[in-house]
Protein backbone atom coordinates (compact mmCIF):
# COMPACT_ATOMS: atom_id res chain seq x y z
CA UNK A 1 0.00 0.00 0.00
CA UNK A 2 1.12 3.56 -0.76
CA UNK A 3 0.01 6.50 1.35
CA UNK A 4 -0.16 9.85 -0.47
CA UNK A 5 -1.16 13.10 1.17
CA UNK A 6 -2.27 16.37 -0.42
CA UNK A 7 -0.41 19.29 1.18
CA UNK A 8 -2.02 22.16 -0.75
CA UNK A 9 -4.88 22.55 -3.22
CA UNK A 10 -3.99 26.00 -4.53
CA UNK A 11 -1.15 28.51 -4.34
CA UNK A 12 -2.49 30.34 -1.30
CA UNK A 13 -3.59 27.31 0.68
CA UNK A 14 -3.05 26.88 4.42
CA UNK A 15 0.35 25.56 5.49
CA UNK A 16 -0.33 23.75 8.81
CA UNK A 17 -2.47 20.90 7.41
CA UNK A 18 0.52 19.60 5.43
CA UNK A 19 2.63 19.58 8.58
CA UNK A 20 -0.11 17.67 10.40
CA UNK A 21 -0.28 15.15 7.54
CA UNK A 22 3.47 14.49 7.62
CA UNK A 23 3.56 14.30 11.41
CA UNK A 24 0.60 11.98 11.86
CA UNK A 25 -0.40 10.59 8.47
CA UNK A 26 2.32 7.91 8.12
CA UNK A 27 2.78 9.18 4.57
CA UNK A 28 5.04 7.88 1.84
CA UNK A 29 4.45 10.93 -0.39
CA UNK A 30 3.29 14.49 0.07
CA UNK A 31 2.04 16.39 -2.99
CA UNK A 32 1.52 20.15 -3.21
CA UNK A 33 -0.66 21.34 -6.11
CA UNK A 34 -0.17 25.10 -6.33
CA UNK A 35 -0.24 26.11 -9.99
CA UNK A 36 -3.37 27.63 -11.54
CA UNK A 37 -3.78 28.32 -15.26
CA UNK A 38 -2.86 31.96 -15.05
CA UNK A 39 -0.22 31.70 -12.33
CA UNK A 40 2.38 30.30 -14.69
CA UNK A 41 1.91 33.13 -17.19
CA UNK A 42 2.41 35.72 -14.43
CA UNK A 43 5.43 33.80 -13.13
CA UNK A 44 6.91 33.81 -16.62
CA UNK A 45 6.82 37.61 -16.60
CA UNK A 46 8.52 37.67 -13.20
CA UNK A 47 11.26 35.42 -14.55
CA UNK A 48 11.87 37.78 -17.48
CA UNK A 49 12.78 40.46 -14.94
CA UNK A 50 14.87 38.13 -12.75
CA UNK A 51 16.25 34.84 -14.13
CA UNK A 52 16.46 33.33 -10.64
CA UNK A 53 12.76 34.02 -9.94
CA UNK A 54 9.52 32.66 -11.37
CA UNK A 55 8.75 29.91 -8.89
CA UNK A 56 5.96 29.92 -6.31
CA UNK A 57 6.39 32.72 -3.74
CA UNK A 58 5.34 30.40 -0.90
CA UNK A 59 7.86 27.70 -1.86
CA UNK A 60 10.25 28.64 0.93
CA UNK A 61 7.57 28.89 3.60
CA UNK A 62 6.08 25.50 2.69
CA UNK A 63 9.46 23.79 2.46
CA UNK A 64 10.69 25.24 5.74
CA UNK A 65 7.51 23.98 7.39
CA UNK A 66 7.65 20.38 6.13
CA UNK A 67 11.16 19.47 4.92
CA UNK A 68 12.82 18.52 8.24
CA UNK A 69 9.85 16.33 9.18
CA UNK A 70 9.71 14.80 5.69
CA UNK A 71 13.38 13.87 5.92
CA UNK A 72 12.93 12.46 9.42
CA UNK A 73 9.95 10.36 8.38
CA UNK A 74 11.21 9.52 4.90
CA UNK A 75 8.35 11.23 3.06
CA UNK A 76 9.04 12.19 -0.55
CA UNK A 77 7.70 15.53 -1.77
CA UNK A 78 6.28 16.31 -5.21
CA UNK A 79 5.04 19.76 -6.25
CA UNK A 80 4.38 21.99 -9.24
CA UNK A 81 5.64 24.98 -7.21
CA UNK A 82 8.45 25.29 -9.76
CA UNK A 83 5.94 27.27 -11.86
CA UNK A 84 7.91 29.13 -14.54
CA UNK A 85 11.30 28.18 -13.14
CA UNK A 86 11.54 24.65 -11.69
CA UNK A 87 15.36 24.61 -11.94
CA UNK A 88 15.69 27.72 -9.75
CA UNK A 89 13.10 26.26 -7.36
CA UNK A 90 15.15 23.07 -6.99
CA UNK A 91 18.32 25.09 -6.34
CA UNK A 92 16.51 27.13 -3.70
CA UNK A 93 15.18 23.99 -2.01
CA UNK A 94 18.70 22.50 -1.94
CA UNK A 95 20.00 25.73 -0.36
CA UNK A 96 17.23 25.68 2.22
CA UNK A 97 17.97 22.04 3.02
CA UNK A 98 21.63 22.94 3.54
CA UNK A 99 20.64 25.81 5.82
CA UNK A 100 18.47 23.47 7.84
CA UNK A 101 21.23 20.90 8.09
CA UNK A 102 19.46 18.27 6.00
CA UNK A 103 22.39 16.53 4.38
CA UNK A 104 22.31 14.18 1.44
CA UNK A 105 18.98 15.35 0.13
CA UNK A 106 18.42 14.81 -3.59
CA UNK A 107 16.23 17.46 -5.21
CA UNK A 108 14.98 17.21 -8.80
CA UNK A 109 13.48 19.71 -11.21
CA UNK A 110 11.26 18.58 -14.07
CA UNK A 111 11.72 20.96 -16.99
CA UNK A 112 10.61 21.01 -20.61
CA UNK A 113 7.02 22.24 -20.32
CA UNK A 114 8.00 25.69 -21.63
CA UNK A 115 7.30 25.56 -25.38
CA UNK A 116 7.20 29.29 -26.12
CA UNK A 117 9.94 28.91 -28.77
CA UNK A 118 7.89 26.35 -30.68
CA UNK A 119 4.73 28.42 -30.41
CA UNK A 120 5.93 31.83 -31.54
CA UNK A 121 4.45 32.41 -34.99
CA UNK A 122 2.82 28.98 -35.09
CA UNK A 123 -0.22 28.31 -37.26
CA UNK A 124 -1.71 25.96 -34.66
CA UNK A 125 -5.37 26.81 -34.01
CA UNK A 126 -6.52 28.40 -30.76
CA UNK A 127 -9.13 26.10 -29.26
CA UNK A 128 -11.39 28.61 -27.49
CA UNK A 129 -11.41 31.75 -29.59
CA UNK A 130 -10.56 30.69 -33.15
CA UNK A 131 -7.66 32.06 -35.14
CA UNK A 132 -4.13 30.76 -34.77
CA UNK A 133 -1.28 31.20 -32.30
CA UNK A 134 0.57 33.56 -34.65
CA UNK A 135 -2.38 35.97 -34.52
CA UNK A 136 -1.57 36.65 -30.85
CA UNK A 137 1.64 38.38 -31.97
CA UNK A 138 3.49 40.23 -29.20
CA UNK A 139 0.61 39.66 -26.79
CA UNK A 140 1.77 36.05 -26.34
CA UNK A 141 3.88 35.90 -23.16
CA UNK A 142 3.96 32.25 -22.19
CA UNK A 143 3.31 28.79 -23.58
CA UNK A 144 3.42 25.74 -21.35
CA UNK A 145 2.58 22.20 -22.38
CA UNK A 146 0.83 19.99 -19.87
CA UNK A 147 3.30 17.23 -19.03
CA UNK A 148 2.23 13.85 -17.70
CA UNK A 149 3.74 11.70 -14.96
CA UNK A 150 6.71 10.28 -16.91
CA UNK A 151 9.51 12.66 -15.94
CA UNK A 152 8.45 12.58 -12.28
CA UNK A 153 8.55 8.77 -12.36
CA UNK A 154 12.06 9.00 -13.78
CA UNK A 155 13.14 11.35 -10.98
CA UNK A 156 11.66 9.00 -8.38
CA UNK A 157 13.49 6.05 -9.92
CA UNK A 158 16.72 8.05 -9.58
CA UNK A 159 16.10 8.54 -5.88
CA UNK A 160 14.93 12.15 -5.78
CA UNK A 161 13.34 13.00 -2.44
CA UNK A 162 11.94 16.36 -3.49
CA UNK A 163 10.66 16.95 -7.03
CA UNK A 164 9.51 20.32 -8.34
CA UNK A 165 7.87 20.79 -11.70
CA UNK A 166 6.35 23.50 -13.82
CA UNK A 167 3.19 22.77 -15.75
CA UNK A 168 2.22 19.15 -15.15
CA UNK A 169 -1.39 17.97 -15.24
CA UNK A 170 -2.60 18.10 -11.63
CA UNK A 171 -3.60 14.41 -11.27
CA UNK A 172 -0.27 13.36 -12.82
CA UNK A 173 1.55 14.70 -9.74
CA UNK A 174 -0.26 11.98 -7.77
CA UNK A 175 -0.20 9.32 -10.46
CA UNK A 176 3.62 9.44 -10.68
CA UNK A 177 4.33 7.86 -7.27
CA UNK A 178 1.75 5.14 -7.95
CA UNK A 179 3.36 4.26 -11.28
CA UNK A 180 6.75 4.25 -9.57
CA UNK A 181 5.72 2.15 -6.56
CA UNK A 182 3.52 -0.38 -8.33
CA UNK A 183 5.50 -0.55 -11.54
CA UNK A 184 2.43 0.17 -13.63
CA UNK A 185 3.07 0.15 -17.32
CA UNK A 186 2.49 3.50 -19.04
CA UNK A 187 -0.07 1.85 -21.30
CA UNK A 188 -1.97 0.10 -18.54
CA UNK A 189 -4.89 2.45 -19.20
CA UNK A 190 -7.18 0.91 -16.60
CA UNK A 191 -4.75 1.40 -13.71
CA UNK A 192 -3.59 4.79 -14.96
CA UNK A 193 -7.27 5.77 -15.10
CA UNK A 194 -7.84 4.65 -11.52
CA UNK A 195 -4.70 6.40 -10.31
CA UNK A 196 -5.97 9.52 -12.06
CA UNK A 197 -9.26 9.22 -10.16
CA UNK A 198 -7.28 9.17 -6.91
CA UNK A 199 -5.19 12.13 -8.03
CA UNK A 200 -8.28 14.08 -9.04
CA UNK A 201 -9.89 13.44 -5.64
CA UNK A 202 -6.76 14.66 -3.83
CA UNK A 203 -5.59 17.55 -5.99
CA UNK A 204 -7.74 20.24 -4.35
CA UNK A 205 -6.69 19.08 -0.89
CA UNK A 206 -9.38 20.21 1.59
CA UNK A 207 -12.13 20.12 -1.02
CA UNK A 208 -12.54 16.38 -0.46
CA UNK A 209 -12.37 16.54 3.35
CA UNK A 210 -15.20 19.01 3.90
CA UNK A 211 -13.91 22.26 2.40
CA UNK A 212 -16.12 23.97 -0.24
CA UNK A 213 -18.99 21.85 1.13
CA UNK A 214 -20.61 23.25 4.27
CA UNK A 215 -24.14 24.64 4.12
CA UNK A 216 -25.42 25.28 7.67
CA UNK A 217 -28.34 23.08 8.74
CA UNK A 218 -28.13 21.06 5.51
CA UNK A 219 -24.52 19.93 5.17
CA UNK A 220 -22.62 20.41 8.40
CA UNK A 221 -18.84 20.18 8.57
CA UNK A 222 -17.11 20.16 11.97
CA UNK A 223 -14.13 22.38 12.74
CA UNK A 224 -13.35 23.95 9.35
CA UNK A 225 -10.78 26.22 10.99
CA UNK A 226 -8.70 23.09 11.55
CA UNK A 227 -9.64 21.32 8.32
CA UNK A 228 -7.56 18.19 7.84
CA UNK A 229 -6.15 17.61 4.36
CA UNK A 230 -6.72 14.26 2.67
CA UNK A 231 -4.56 11.24 2.26
CA UNK A 232 -5.18 8.20 0.08
CA UNK A 233 -4.20 4.64 0.90
CA UNK A 234 -3.75 3.18 -2.56
CA UNK A 235 -3.25 -0.50 -3.43
CA UNK A 236 -1.72 -2.06 -6.52
CA UNK A 237 -4.96 -2.40 -8.53
CA UNK A 238 -5.51 1.36 -8.21
CA UNK A 239 -8.37 1.25 -5.74
CA UNK A 240 -8.00 3.38 -2.64
CA UNK A 241 -9.35 4.64 0.64
CA UNK A 242 -9.65 8.41 1.09
CA UNK A 243 -9.24 9.56 4.67
CA UNK A 244 -7.63 12.23 6.86
CA UNK A 245 -5.66 12.43 10.08
CA UNK A 246 -7.70 11.43 13.11
CA UNK A 247 -8.78 14.40 15.20
CA UNK A 248 -8.40 16.97 12.42
CA UNK A 249 -11.37 19.07 11.31
CA UNK A 250 -13.64 18.32 8.39
CA UNK A 251 -15.42 15.21 7.19
CA UNK A 252 -14.79 12.51 4.60
CA UNK A 253 -17.86 10.66 3.36
CA UNK A 254 -19.56 9.61 0.14
CA UNK A 255 -21.07 13.08 -0.30
CA UNK A 256 -17.77 14.98 -0.06
CA UNK A 257 -16.05 12.47 -2.35
CA UNK A 258 -18.83 12.58 -4.94
CA UNK A 259 -18.74 16.38 -5.10
CA UNK A 260 -14.99 16.36 -5.59
CA UNK A 261 -15.02 13.56 -8.17
CA UNK A 262 -17.27 15.70 -10.37
CA UNK A 263 -15.40 18.97 -9.71
CA UNK A 264 -14.13 20.59 -12.92
CA UNK A 265 -15.28 17.57 -14.87
CA UNK A 266 -16.92 17.63 -18.29
CA UNK A 267 -17.69 14.24 -19.87
CA UNK A 268 -17.27 11.81 -16.92
CA UNK A 269 -16.31 8.97 -19.27
CA UNK A 270 -13.56 10.98 -20.96
CA UNK A 271 -11.36 12.92 -18.58
CA UNK A 272 -8.31 13.84 -20.62
CA UNK A 273 -4.84 14.02 -19.11
CA UNK A 274 -1.44 13.66 -20.78
CA UNK A 275 -1.26 10.11 -19.32
CA UNK A 276 -4.65 8.60 -20.06
CA UNK A 277 -8.23 9.21 -21.11
CA UNK A 278 -9.71 8.41 -17.73
CA UNK A 279 -13.22 7.08 -17.19
CA UNK A 280 -14.80 8.43 -13.99
CA UNK A 281 -18.29 7.21 -14.88
CA UNK A 282 -17.83 3.80 -13.25
CA UNK A 283 -16.39 5.03 -9.95
CA UNK A 284 -18.19 3.84 -6.82
CA UNK A 285 -17.77 5.08 -3.25
CA UNK A 286 -18.45 3.22 -0.03
CA UNK A 287 -18.09 4.45 3.52
CA UNK A 288 -15.87 1.90 5.29
CA UNK A 289 -15.24 3.67 8.60
CA UNK A 290 -15.31 7.06 10.31
CA UNK A 291 -13.94 9.56 7.78
CA UNK A 292 -12.92 6.66 5.52
CA UNK A 293 -14.30 6.17 2.01
CA UNK A 294 -13.33 3.33 -0.32
CA UNK A 295 -12.94 4.29 -4.00
CA UNK A 296 -13.52 1.48 -6.47
CA UNK A 297 -13.98 1.21 -10.21
CA UNK A 298 -12.97 3.80 -12.70
CA UNK A 299 -10.77 3.01 -15.64
CA UNK A 300 -9.42 4.47 -18.82
CA UNK A 301 -8.39 4.25 -22.42
CA UNK A 302 -5.45 5.38 -24.55
CA UNK A 303 -3.94 8.77 -23.79
CA UNK A 304 -4.66 11.69 -26.15
CA UNK A 305 -2.34 11.83 -29.17
CA UNK A 306 -1.40 15.47 -28.55
CA UNK A 307 -0.63 17.55 -25.48
CA UNK A 308 -2.56 20.63 -24.43
CA UNK A 309 -0.64 23.89 -24.32
CA UNK A 310 -1.72 26.76 -22.10
CA UNK A 311 -0.93 30.14 -23.68
CA UNK A 312 -0.75 33.34 -21.65
CA UNK A 313 -1.51 36.55 -23.50
CA UNK A 314 -1.65 40.19 -22.51
CA UNK A 315 -5.21 41.47 -22.82
CA UNK A 316 -5.10 45.02 -21.55
CA UNK A 317 -6.24 46.05 -18.09
CA UNK A 318 -9.19 45.73 -15.77
CA UNK A 319 -10.24 48.84 -13.87
CA UNK A 320 -12.71 48.56 -11.08
CA UNK A 321 -14.44 50.74 -8.51
CA UNK A 322 -17.05 50.04 -5.85
CA UNK A 323 -19.01 52.08 -3.30
CA UNK A 324 -21.62 51.15 -0.68
CA UNK A 325 -25.11 52.47 0.10
CA UNK A 326 -27.34 51.54 3.03
CA UNK A 327 -30.95 51.96 4.14
CA UNK A 328 -34.28 51.03 2.65
CA UNK A 329 -33.54 53.09 -0.49
CA UNK A 330 -30.08 51.55 -0.90
CA UNK A 331 -31.00 49.82 -4.17
CA UNK A 332 -32.40 53.02 -5.69
CA UNK A 333 -29.33 55.04 -4.75
CA UNK A 334 -27.03 52.26 -5.94
CA UNK A 335 -28.78 52.23 -9.32
CA UNK A 336 -28.51 56.01 -9.52
CA UNK A 337 -24.78 55.72 -8.80
CA UNK A 338 -24.34 53.23 -11.65
CA UNK A 339 -26.32 55.46 -14.04
CA UNK A 340 -24.15 58.44 -13.13
CA UNK A 341 -20.92 56.55 -13.83
CA UNK A 342 -22.26 55.26 -17.15
CA UNK A 343 -23.13 58.84 -18.13
CA UNK A 344 -19.69 60.03 -16.99
CA UNK A 345 -18.05 57.46 -19.27
CA UNK A 346 -19.98 59.01 -22.18
CA UNK A 347 -19.09 62.56 -21.18
CA UNK A 348 -15.38 61.91 -20.83
CA UNK A 349 -15.26 59.70 -23.92
CA UNK A 350 -14.20 56.55 -22.13
CA UNK A 351 -15.19 53.53 -24.21
CA UNK A 352 -13.90 50.32 -22.64
CA UNK A 353 -13.77 46.99 -24.48
CA UNK A 354 -16.24 45.50 -22.03
CA UNK A 355 -18.06 46.80 -18.94
CA UNK A 356 -20.26 45.65 -16.09
CA UNK A 357 -22.47 47.86 -13.91
CA UNK A 358 -23.95 45.94 -11.00
CA UNK A 359 -25.11 46.01 -7.40
CA UNK A 360 -23.37 43.60 -5.08
CA UNK A 361 -26.13 42.16 -2.93
CA UNK A 362 -28.64 42.27 -5.80
CA UNK A 363 -27.41 41.23 -9.23
CA UNK A 364 -23.60 40.95 -9.24
CA UNK A 365 -23.62 37.19 -8.98
CA UNK A 366 -27.29 36.20 -9.29
CA UNK A 367 -29.34 36.59 -12.46
CA UNK A 368 -31.90 39.38 -12.33
CA UNK A 369 -35.02 37.21 -12.15
CA UNK A 370 -33.80 35.65 -8.90
CA UNK A 371 -32.51 38.89 -7.44
CA UNK A 372 -35.71 40.95 -7.63
CA UNK A 373 -37.43 39.06 -4.82
CA UNK A 374 -35.92 40.99 -1.91
CA UNK A 375 -34.76 44.47 -0.85
CA UNK A 376 -31.44 44.36 0.97
CA UNK A 377 -30.57 46.95 3.66
CA UNK A 378 -27.20 47.56 2.00
CA UNK A 379 -25.75 47.25 -1.49
CA UNK A 380 -22.41 47.91 -3.10
CA UNK A 381 -22.39 49.53 -6.54
CA UNK A 382 -19.64 47.99 -8.66
CA UNK A 383 -18.33 49.23 -11.99
CA UNK A 384 -15.70 47.21 -13.78
CA UNK A 385 -14.27 47.53 -17.27
CA UNK A 386 -11.61 46.03 -19.47
CA UNK A 387 -9.53 48.61 -21.31
CA UNK A 388 -6.58 48.77 -23.67
CA UNK A 389 -4.51 51.10 -21.52
CA UNK A 390 -3.70 51.42 -17.84
CA UNK A 391 -4.74 55.10 -17.92
CA UNK A 392 -8.27 54.20 -19.02
CA UNK A 393 -8.46 51.50 -16.37
CA UNK A 394 -7.41 54.02 -13.68
CA UNK A 395 -10.22 56.29 -14.81
CA UNK A 396 -12.89 53.65 -14.06
CA UNK A 397 -12.13 53.50 -10.34
CA UNK A 398 -11.66 57.27 -10.10
CA UNK A 399 -15.11 57.93 -11.56
CA UNK A 400 -16.61 55.63 -8.91
CA UNK A 401 -14.59 57.24 -6.13
CA UNK A 402 -15.79 60.69 -7.26
CA UNK A 403 -19.32 59.62 -6.27
CA UNK A 404 -18.30 60.45 -2.70
CA UNK A 405 -18.93 64.15 -3.32
CA UNK A 406 -20.72 64.06 -6.68
CA UNK A 407 -23.07 61.11 -6.34
CA UNK A 408 -26.14 59.94 -4.39
CA UNK A 409 -26.58 60.50 -0.65
CA UNK A 410 -24.65 58.37 1.78
CA UNK A 411 -22.10 56.67 -0.47
CA UNK A 412 -19.26 55.16 1.56
CA UNK A 413 -16.27 52.85 1.51
CA UNK A 414 -15.19 53.49 -2.07
CA UNK A 415 -12.39 51.28 -3.34
CA UNK A 416 -10.61 51.14 -6.68
CA UNK A 417 -8.28 48.74 -8.34
CA UNK A 418 -6.36 48.25 -11.60
CA UNK A 419 -4.99 44.90 -12.70
CA UNK A 420 -3.18 43.90 -15.88
CA UNK A 421 -5.04 41.10 -17.65
CA UNK A 422 -3.24 37.93 -18.63
CA UNK A 423 -5.76 35.83 -20.48
CA UNK A 424 -5.28 32.12 -21.03
CA UNK A 425 -6.13 30.28 -24.23
CA UNK A 426 -4.97 26.90 -25.44
CA UNK A 427 -3.80 24.90 -28.38
CA UNK A 428 -2.41 21.40 -28.98
CA UNK A 429 1.12 20.25 -29.68
CA UNK A 430 2.60 17.02 -31.01
CA UNK A 431 4.20 14.96 -28.25
CA UNK A 432 7.56 14.65 -29.99
CA UNK A 433 8.03 18.42 -29.86
CA UNK A 434 7.87 18.39 -26.06
CA UNK A 435 10.94 16.98 -24.32
CA UNK A 436 10.63 16.73 -20.56
CA UNK A 437 13.92 16.40 -18.71
CA UNK A 438 15.08 16.10 -15.11
CA UNK A 439 17.78 18.22 -13.46
CA UNK A 440 19.22 17.10 -10.11
CA UNK A 441 20.53 19.18 -7.23
CA UNK A 442 22.14 17.55 -4.20
CA UNK A 443 22.77 18.98 -0.76
CA UNK A 444 26.09 18.47 1.03
Amino acid sequence: MVRIGAGAGFAGDRIEPAVELVREGRLDYLVFECLAERTIALAQRTRLGDPSAGYDPLLEARMRAVLPLCVEKNVRVISNMGAANPAAAARRIAELADEMGLSGLKVAAVVGDDVLDVMAGSSRPLLEIGGDVASLGDALISANAYLGCEAIVEALAHGAQVIVTGRVADPSLFLAPLVHEFGWSLDDWERLGRGTVVGHLLECAGQVTGGYFADPDVKMVPDLARLGFPLAEVVADGSAVITKVEGSGGRVDVATCTEQLLYELHDPARYLTPDVTADFSTVAFEKVGPDRVAVRGGGGGPRPAQLKVSLGRKEGFIGEGAISYAGSSAVARGRLALDIVAERFRLIGLSPLETRFELIGVDAVAPEHLASAFAPMEVRARVVARTLTREEAERVGREVEALYTNGPAGGGGATRLVTPVVGVVSTLIERDLVRPAVIYEATQ
Partner: protein
Protein backbone atom coordinates in the same frame (compact mmCIF):
# COMPACT_ATOMS: atom_id res chain seq x y z
CA UNK B 1 -40.16 22.45 -3.90
CA UNK B 2 -36.68 23.77 -4.48
CA UNK B 3 -33.80 21.72 -5.83
CA UNK B 4 -31.81 22.25 -2.63
CA UNK B 5 -34.31 20.07 -0.72
CA UNK B 6 -33.42 17.06 -2.87
CA UNK B 7 -29.81 17.60 -3.84
CA UNK B 8 -26.49 19.27 -3.16
CA UNK B 9 -24.21 20.77 -5.79
CA UNK B 10 -20.69 21.96 -6.55
CA UNK B 11 -19.44 24.15 -9.36
CA UNK B 12 -16.05 24.08 -11.04
CA UNK B 13 -14.32 26.04 -13.79
CA UNK B 14 -12.16 25.40 -16.82
CA UNK B 15 -11.53 28.32 -19.13
CA UNK B 16 -14.92 29.75 -20.12
CA UNK B 17 -16.76 26.55 -19.18
CA UNK B 18 -18.43 25.98 -15.83
CA UNK B 19 -19.68 22.62 -14.63
CA UNK B 20 -22.21 22.13 -11.88
CA UNK B 21 -22.70 18.70 -10.37
CA UNK B 22 -26.11 18.06 -8.83
CA UNK B 23 -26.09 15.15 -6.41
CA UNK B 24 -29.35 13.80 -5.03
CA UNK B 25 -29.65 12.76 -1.39
CA UNK B 26 -31.54 9.54 -2.33
CA UNK B 27 -32.78 7.47 -5.25
CA UNK B 28 -36.28 8.95 -5.33
CA UNK B 29 -34.77 12.42 -5.35
CA UNK B 30 -32.46 11.45 -8.19
CA UNK B 31 -35.35 10.22 -10.33
CA UNK B 32 -37.35 13.36 -9.68
CA UNK B 33 -34.42 15.66 -10.41
CA UNK B 34 -33.49 13.70 -13.52
CA UNK B 35 -37.02 14.03 -14.86
CA UNK B 36 -37.30 17.77 -14.30
CA UNK B 37 -33.81 19.23 -14.55
CA UNK B 38 -33.21 19.41 -18.29
CA UNK B 39 -30.32 21.37 -19.76
CA UNK B 40 -32.84 23.93 -21.08
CA UNK B 41 -34.30 24.38 -17.59
CA UNK B 42 -30.84 24.97 -16.12
CA UNK B 43 -29.94 27.49 -18.80
CA UNK B 44 -33.19 29.43 -18.35
CA UNK B 45 -32.81 29.48 -14.56
CA UNK B 46 -29.34 30.99 -14.77
CA UNK B 47 -30.65 33.79 -16.98
CA UNK B 48 -28.04 35.67 -18.99
CA UNK B 49 -25.10 33.96 -17.29
CA UNK B 50 -24.79 31.05 -19.73
CA UNK B 51 -24.18 32.23 -23.29
CA UNK B 52 -23.50 28.83 -24.86
CA UNK B 53 -24.88 25.32 -24.86
CA UNK B 54 -25.65 23.35 -21.69
CA UNK B 55 -24.95 19.61 -21.72
CA UNK B 56 -26.08 17.09 -19.15
CA UNK B 57 -24.30 13.86 -18.19
CA UNK B 58 -26.01 11.25 -16.01
CA UNK B 59 -24.19 9.30 -13.29
CA UNK B 60 -26.91 7.05 -11.84
CA UNK B 61 -24.43 5.10 -9.72
CA UNK B 62 -23.57 8.30 -7.86
CA UNK B 63 -27.16 9.68 -7.98
CA UNK B 64 -25.62 12.61 -9.79
CA UNK B 65 -26.10 14.77 -12.86
CA UNK B 66 -23.25 16.80 -14.28
CA UNK B 67 -24.13 19.98 -16.17
CA UNK B 68 -21.52 21.50 -18.45
CA UNK B 69 -22.22 25.17 -19.16
CA UNK B 70 -20.37 26.58 -22.14
CA UNK B 71 -19.64 30.31 -22.22
CA UNK B 72 -20.65 30.77 -18.58
CA UNK B 73 -17.55 32.45 -17.19
CA UNK B 74 -17.35 35.82 -18.90
CA UNK B 75 -14.78 34.67 -21.47
CA UNK B 76 -12.68 32.76 -18.94
CA UNK B 77 -11.56 33.12 -15.36
CA UNK B 78 -8.46 35.17 -16.12
CA UNK B 79 -10.20 37.88 -18.15
CA UNK B 80 -13.73 37.86 -16.75
CA UNK B 81 -15.16 41.04 -15.25
CA UNK B 82 -17.50 39.04 -13.04
CA UNK B 83 -17.25 39.42 -9.28
CA UNK B 84 -17.24 35.63 -9.06
CA UNK B 85 -14.97 34.94 -12.01
CA UNK B 86 -14.76 31.22 -11.23
CA UNK B 87 -18.53 30.77 -11.10
CA UNK B 88 -18.17 29.20 -7.65
CA UNK B 89 -21.51 30.76 -6.66
CA UNK B 90 -23.43 29.12 -9.50
CA UNK B 91 -24.11 25.94 -7.51
CA UNK B 92 -25.89 27.96 -4.83
CA UNK B 93 -28.01 29.70 -7.44
CA UNK B 94 -28.92 26.49 -9.22
CA UNK B 95 -30.13 24.92 -5.96
CA UNK B 96 -32.80 27.66 -5.77
CA UNK B 97 -34.48 26.26 -8.89
CA UNK B 98 -38.18 25.54 -8.33
CA UNK B 99 -38.87 21.92 -9.29
CA UNK B 100 -42.61 22.43 -9.82
CA UNK B 101 -43.36 21.24 -13.36
CA UNK B 102 -43.64 24.15 -15.72
CA UNK B 103 -46.75 25.04 -17.71
CA UNK B 104 -46.45 23.54 -21.19
CA UNK B 105 -45.37 26.30 -23.50
CA UNK B 106 -48.01 27.51 -25.94
Amino acid sequence: MRLRELAHARSGDKGDVSNISVIAYDTAGYERVRAVLTPERVKRHLGGIVRGEVRRYELPGLLALNFVLNGALGGGVTRSLALDAHGKCLSGLLLELDLTPEEPSR
